[in-house]
Amino acid sequence: MKFSIRRDEFYEALQKVVSVIPQRSTISMTQNILLSAHGGQLELMTTDLEITMVSHVTAEIATEGDIAIPGRLVHDIVRELPNVMLSFSADASYRAELRSDFGQYKIGGENPSDFPRKPALDSVREITLPNEVLKRLIDKSIFACSHDELRPALTGVLFELGENSLRTVATDGHRLATLFYRSDSLPREDFSAILSTRALNFVMRNLEADGVTVIGFGPSHAVAHMGPTRLFARLIDERYVNYNKVIPPETNFDLTVDTSTLLASVKRVSLFSNPITAQVLLRLMPNRMEIQAEDIDYGGEAREEIECNYEGDEFVIGFNSRYLQDLLRHIDAPQVIFHLIRPDFAVLANPGDQPENEDQLMLLMPIRLENV
């Protein structure tokens, strides 16, 4: 195997794949990058067995071949080199050598046939999404994912395909976040899959601002084609909760408030809440609301009042301020609309206005208050 390549191009391709290499693993092969030089293309692949990342770069290939070489070492040495021509060669016993104007670096490689195979993806359902839409679909849901390993389904984001539509859903039981997207370019079939937060974070990192991404869903894996990079991710093979059941079909009161005003107020007031419960109270009154917090233990207390659009009953509802802030941060619109039922019931929230073919909805469970 022998090829030459410019440092910058090689480094860019290495950067795309190196972060998938696990910090430590019982399978030492996963510490490697699989380099494959064929037909004028150099392919780089890394895996942690859950996620497999593949990138491509053009190279001058003198002799075709494959090798598995220590991934971080190759990445680190290339990183330290200026943009010069590099030539890479490997012999039949997988001893590799990288040459530059500066000198040569010998790297012990391994048999490429021992490297884990790329996940096979047969009977793939493909969808194509504009990058900015995919980004929003992930961003508006992923923050609500659970970290509870006992509920594996909830540690990922549900991708639910319906009639020309796609919905992403995430929940940890305390809050639920979903974005619904409608497009004629989406298939007319029902299908759903759960993608891990780790895989989606890699997608977010590799997503370019413009362009489109093709996602293929196979029986056990999904693949995202992002320009010269492909990401394979094992699906979370679990049943998702019936989230529709918890979204109240009807609510009693609507409250509209300026998103950034409320967020700023909650941020300030929550500094005075008990650090363990992070509890803030919203006292709802006609056309104004009071945001308050107190920490009985340390004597701190804060109270603010802001204007809002509300004509419902007066009541007090408590939230974990971190969850409330998360919710407000994911509203892009200047106004947020809350839909309320009772102090101890789920609250719904959505942006005051949003694109016609999108429907963002969040649900937040309150803190039950005893003697307010």
Partner: protein
Amino acid sequence: MPKTTSSWPRVIAHVDMDAFFAAIEVLRNPELKGKPVIVGADPRKGQGRGVVSTASYEARKFGVHSAMPVSRAYKLCPEGIFVSPKGGVYGDYSRRVFEVLESFTPQIQKVSVDEAFLDLTGSIHLYGSVEAIGKAIKAKVLAETQLYASVGIAPTKSVAKIASDYQKPDGLTIVLPDQVQDFLDPLPVSKIWGVGNKSNETLAHLGIRTVRDLRALSREFLDARFGKMGGFLYRMARGIDERDVHDRDPVKSVSNERTFGSDQDDPEVIHGTLLYLSEKVASRLRHQQIKGRTINLKLRFADFSTFSRSKTILQATNLTEDIYKICLGMLETFNLSGKKVRLIGVGVSHLENAAGIQTNFLDQENEKKSKLEAVLDQLQDRFGKTALTHAQTLNARKRRKDHTDSDD
């Protein structure tokens, strides 16, 4: 003799460290070895007012035992070496002991820093026999801490507890399932775990001295004579105890007490102390985010006569002011003229969760459970002190060396 696991419905061990604090003091200062070491309050040449925490076995020969007033310990054993307790050091040793115990089973119930129940039912096959696991526990505790433990193993908690005390120190007592009755029968009733001085006195009055005597009494008689305690005595006399090891006894009350350095009759001091204790109890409740509905007041007079009053209110509270006002009302029911107070205690029971619980739509059916657990979790999380204080407590707040404070 049946020694196989199959004849054991459950294998429960009670591990009790021998003269724990005193043994640690000897480890830290080998010159104390073989001497009567008494860990506790400063005896101040027989004038001290605190109590003994632990006495070494050498000191116990003089009749010194834990919870005895130090003044009395001093009289019994004037040549004793009195050492003040070092909580942090003992805590480190305690953690090491528990690390060892946890290597035998995850099912552990910590009774105190130096005492625990272990459910070994699932671990026994790894050691082959009950004797082997008992010996292994003792050996590993000794190897890891250089301290001796006494171990009792029995099919129930209460019998295991009695067994660990049976051959102290450095004892290993195994009570086989079919020997429980023979083991219990000759023991004095005071050995039964949970039989306090009052019940013991009543039983002695009835001529009941041994467990065998107790077993001769009918359930009806015990119920009539002892009320709720009757059923307990009936079961204990027969070695019947279904309680599980992992059953954490939920904390039922929060209380603070102060023993004055010198007996007090000054209303200002008494009221100030009452407010100080109310504040402490209320602050602990709030830290643990719980409230209580029953307020308890305890008074001990100079002649050691002890009284308590309690009042249950409609709305649970964790506010200093509420607790103090109710205590003050109860204090007024005592005729204090001409009497000196030795100890005041304030407590709150009938606890319930105070702070909000984050609701979760995934397990709404478990809410009641999580409510209880939240109380437990919060109880474990103790820290901090209030930054603000009532002026009236300023005097009471000064930690005078001669006062003894305790919380429960």
